[in-house]
Amino acid sequence: MKKMKLVMVGNGMAGVRTLEELLKLTPDLYDITVFGAEPYPNYNRIMLSPVLAGEQGIQDIILNDIDWYKQNNITLHLNKKVAHIARKNKVVVAEDGTEAEYDRLLLATGSSSFILPVPGKELAGVVGYRDIQDTNAMIAAAEKYKHAVVIGGGLLGLEAANGLALRGMDVTVVHIMPWLMERQLDDNSAQMLQSALQAKGLKFMLEQQTQELVSDGQGRVKSIRFKDGNEIPADLVVMAVGIRPNVALAEAAGIYCNRGIVVSDTMQTYDPSIYAVGECVSHRGTAYGLVAPLFDMAKVCANHLARMGIAYYQGSVTSTKLKVTGVDLFSAGNFTGGNETNQIVMHDVTGGKYKKLVLNNNTLIGAVMYGDTKDSSWYFQMIRDGKNVAEIRDQLIFGQSHLGNAGSQGQNLAATMTNAMEVCGCNGVCKGTIVKAIKEKGLFTLEDVRKHTKASASCGSCTGLVEQILASTVGGAYAPQATTVKPLCDCTTHSHEEVRKAIREEKLISIPQTMTFLNWNTTNGCAKCRPALNYYLLCAWPHEAKDDPQSRFINERANANIQKDGTFSVVPRMYGGITTPQQLRRIADVAEKYNVPTVKVTGGQRIDLLGIKKADLPKIWADLDMPSGYAYAKALRTVKTCVGSEWCRFGVQDSTQMGIDIERAFDHMWMPHKFKVAVSGCPRNCAESGIKDVGIIGVESGWEIYVAGNGGIKTVVAQFLVKVKTHDEVMEYTGAFAQLYREEAHYLDRTVHYVERVGLDHVKKHVVENAANRKALYARLLYALQGATNPWSKENINVCEFESLAI
């Protein structure tokens, strides 16, 4: 089949990102031709400020070098500005006469600096601030001249002013409004910003309107005159008063434009063969000048160019971060408020900290932060998710508590860390390594950083730190993805919820069936989605969906825990932590017979045999004659107990028996992640029920049930769910909560993550307040567990898994 022709006009970040997304989806659908007016391949425009400030060179900010275009068979025309689109014949013509036919045309013409229409605007020494050429002109001027004036106190203007000051110029920022960055900041935070920048040597003239740029008589600017008659010297004038979408080409071709090339939610213009992305478009009346929305557009546009036709762009919530070293500033969403909204404000003038959160009912809709931006990603995520914050409203302003996070020396402020300090304690990644990778490899998302540096890719406790580093390095280009729409993995565009819903409603009972129904883009998934699908199927259709061992992580396939040297560990069940001399003797015999190098007592009150060869596992299980302790599985792990009223002089309930009963009843229960339970016989809580997925505490009059605690990476105290009177009630409530978690959590979310996402009220509504629903949940769990047997028993062992071949 003959390939279709795709022509792209404009060679910037939005356009090239669209091509990258398109090539990922369908590498061979199009012959691609790109026209770029600049002499450079695609570069990282948001890094122009560090280039101006002398922190980076131009070669450092190239995102796609010439080789990239070659490798992807893209015909690249640099230095060729397209002059004309002949829509009738579907041809574009460049100024030098180069022509290219198209079946699909992608306009990514970007935007230009808006130049104030004042006398003298055409003088030498008057520049905008948009591309490498402007940046080079400013760098050259800084070497020769003294006085710089930046017109415009917005994001770009301040970054330009900062860069020029660092290059030794005497810089004055002229702004027409009463405070700086009025589109991103309120007056309080702007005032703090201005003081900080003044301390760096910048001068400010606010509420000043430019009248004229005065010539030195030889065609170069020498001063700037204001409406009030004032005049100050200016050898360089940078216009940073805004951008204008480049629409001339589209307009001349008769494509409908209205302050931008007007596009639909599919990024299509009024000509169905022509798409547009980036700063040149107007979508639902908005033209975006930040990078993050452009990437969202690129994804959608690529989806439609690839003829998949399922993505929609519905606008973006944007955030701002000023890339001026030493200034921590963040704003997002609607922070000015209105009649319907109210605000939570914290303002410490001496300490240089300011935080304002804007809420509509109980939804966070905007945030401004100055001085302390460590929680910016957390707030931004909530704004994007539209999350109800009623439960945490009274603590919201204090930020996400990072107390107890292990592995980062207790650090929670990325800005104060030196490059040599460790961010990710799991993989030993320092701040400097992350910053370097972000800059050199052009990374924009948390996922990118994880892939390239491994930071935050293991336990995830440093995710907040990595997000801060990412946000401060790429500025407004960083946007966390709304969790509700996050795809399950790279094999699909569907979220966890969508996948679970389809499995339930369409009664899908196998992995291939699910992948086909949901248009998976790989033939047999990956190591991320297959275990998730296997679990979702087993959970939704117990006794009908067939377990697929090859879609399980090795631990659940071998029913033992793999160690770093490839040996395994074995933890037999001891219900409720109770054992017998006979069991201990058998364990001791096995340890001797198989030369088990390490015998350890676990944190969950069980005995762990470590360093066992895989081939020995079935023999050891037979000799032990004890059931599997599931210490390797996403399942009920252990029920930790104290001795309780049977022995303890303080005990008021028989916690040991309760623990045994729970562990027996909910044995063999596959779950989204591991599930730990503890039962204490009195409020002294010796079984540590406060940090378990379900923690039960006996009191004189019954039992208190706590849920969603966690003693791991992030210590989280379990929340009180309900108090009940009887043993049977404990079983029912515990089982119902477990089943709700099984049915609703994302695979690999612990209960703490799940309850944080849905809210404790949701759990109470289903498990506590609605008795019929609780009973139904419990019944579904018991049905799922019916007939489940010990995976270590002989008839359940797949011999082929454990025997090796030889030559």
Binding site: N524, C526, Q550, I554, A558, G566, L805, A806, I807
Partner: protein, 103 residues
């Protein structure tokens, strides 16, 4: 010239699974894809020596069980951005019999 050793039959390797072959050169992992192709790699991840035979197989790749590096079954190379390579061995299937060469 390859010296082919008869190792096993195709049925003995689960689809999207692996078997370990003990040899004088160390353990070798035999992988079988969904399409029935068989590949052989030294059973050591180039990252930290994880046993690739214990990983999850998908497409023509395997994910190491230790730190989730993805390794290509046909050439033993790690999938970018990770960098590394483990040795691959010639393997052929004839009449459902799997032959391995240690050359």
């Amino acid at each position: 010239m390859n010296t082919w050793h008869e190792v096993t039959t195709l049925e003995e390797i689960p689809p999207l699974g692996a078997r370990v072959v003990t040899t004088k050169q160390g353990d070798i992992a035999l992988f079988r894809t969904a399409e029935g192709e068989v590949f052989a790699l030294l059973d050591r991840c180039p990252h930290k020596g994880g046993h690739l035979s214990q990983g999850i197989v998908f497409g023509k790749k395997v994910t190491c069980p230790l730190h989730s590096w993805n390794i290509c079954l046909d050439d033993g190379k790690a999938v970018a951005p990770d960098v590394g390579c483990t040795r691959s061995y010639p393997v052929k299937v004839e009449n459902n019999v799997v032959y391995l060469s240690l050359a």
